[in-house]
Amino acid sequence: MAGTAVLGRLKPLTWREASVAEVREETPRTRTLVLDVDGWEPHRPGQHVDIRLTAEDGYQAERSYSIASAPRAGQLELTVERIDDGEVSPYLVDEVRPGDVLEVRGPVGGYFVWEPGHGGPLLLVGGGSGVVPLMSMLRVRPAEVAARLVYSSRTLDEVIYRDELATFGDAVVITLTREEQPGLRRGRVDTDLLRELGFAPRERPHIYVCGPTGFVEAVASALVGLGHAPERVRTERFGPTGR
């Protein structure tokens, strides 16, 4: 049975110290943290980790963040968006600096995962910081696998990984919901855009959708409406409190 086979490979997840190797500003609201973790085994693209912070009085807070980097041993990258009234994300975005130590546990999750062995075509649909786990998939995608990322952002300034995304050519289409920019689409990800950019249902694309709840609901229903099999559409939602 499939479930048992998966469980057989698992080891208990312990908290481990992660040392911040580098901090990169991606947009005014998001930063990528490069974390070194001794003995870290490469994750599978789409997985997330738990991060735990401890205050001087022993108070602790935990949150989950998607892994952005391609899998590698000993290191992972998280891209974190600041939620203004959040408890953990403002610390990670504004306060953390190289040399700091956090605690990390994971990687976690096995369903919202794409690896080259799954094959293509690969359709990724991201809203806002929902692009983060999709980026991990795009970064490992071999050139021979047909892929497309449809990425919805409010403005150009808020586009995460902007320079790197430009190197993917036609495989990446960015649409902006709040402003016009030359060369980019304008408007929400809707049925028409998905029909145009998202492979035909008969090609049986592997589909991954990540973003805020409303975005994921709208995109997933539109994809099913276009004739994509519901079991081919894997979703990850950031609730209104994705903090």
Binding site: R52, L102, G109, P230, T235, T241
Partner: protein, 207 residues
Amino acid sequence: MLYGWPMPVSRGFRGRARRDDAATDRVPPGQYLTDDFPVLSAGPTPHTPLDEWTFTITGEVDEDRRWSWDEFQALPSEQITVDIHCVTKWSKLDTSWEGVSVDTLLDGVESSAEYVLAFCDGGYTANLPLEDVSGGKAWIAFAYGGEPLDPEHGGPARLLVPHLYFWKSAKWVRGLSLRAEDEPGFWEGYGYHNYGDPWREQRYWGD
């Protein structure tokens, strides 16, 4: 920098103002309180028409039991106010539901089963010990906050097992299969804890 044992202090992290009201006792370790109701699902939201909806008790039973939506609505229901805890770290206090007790559905069922597998539209499943869904601990809920349960939150009906992490409260539930042997459900097969007690922080396999 100060590094206490056993965990490192996060330089400059203060966290939210500590709460010392009664609510703190109701928040399991590693959880935070929210007033929202976040949605987490593995795939598209199914929309099963009510005239096609049934609820079935099957598996290790002498005879399957099945209710149509109208028959299900005619069963005695209860108002339930409970705290809920999601494995993704949020907890929400005093949520109010209406539903049919699983005890009502299992009343008179002869079975030697010790486990149940809840099965759902969309292919989702969740496994639980039978004793965790009986004795007034679990319901099939069809209303939330006095309104029909929204499809995003599992409508028309979801399992409600508030003493376990909320993924066990399977959305879009269509029945319970009684089992002699335990078998991992959907998330359990992907590394989440087989039982999922929030007070023991059983989030992942091996916790």
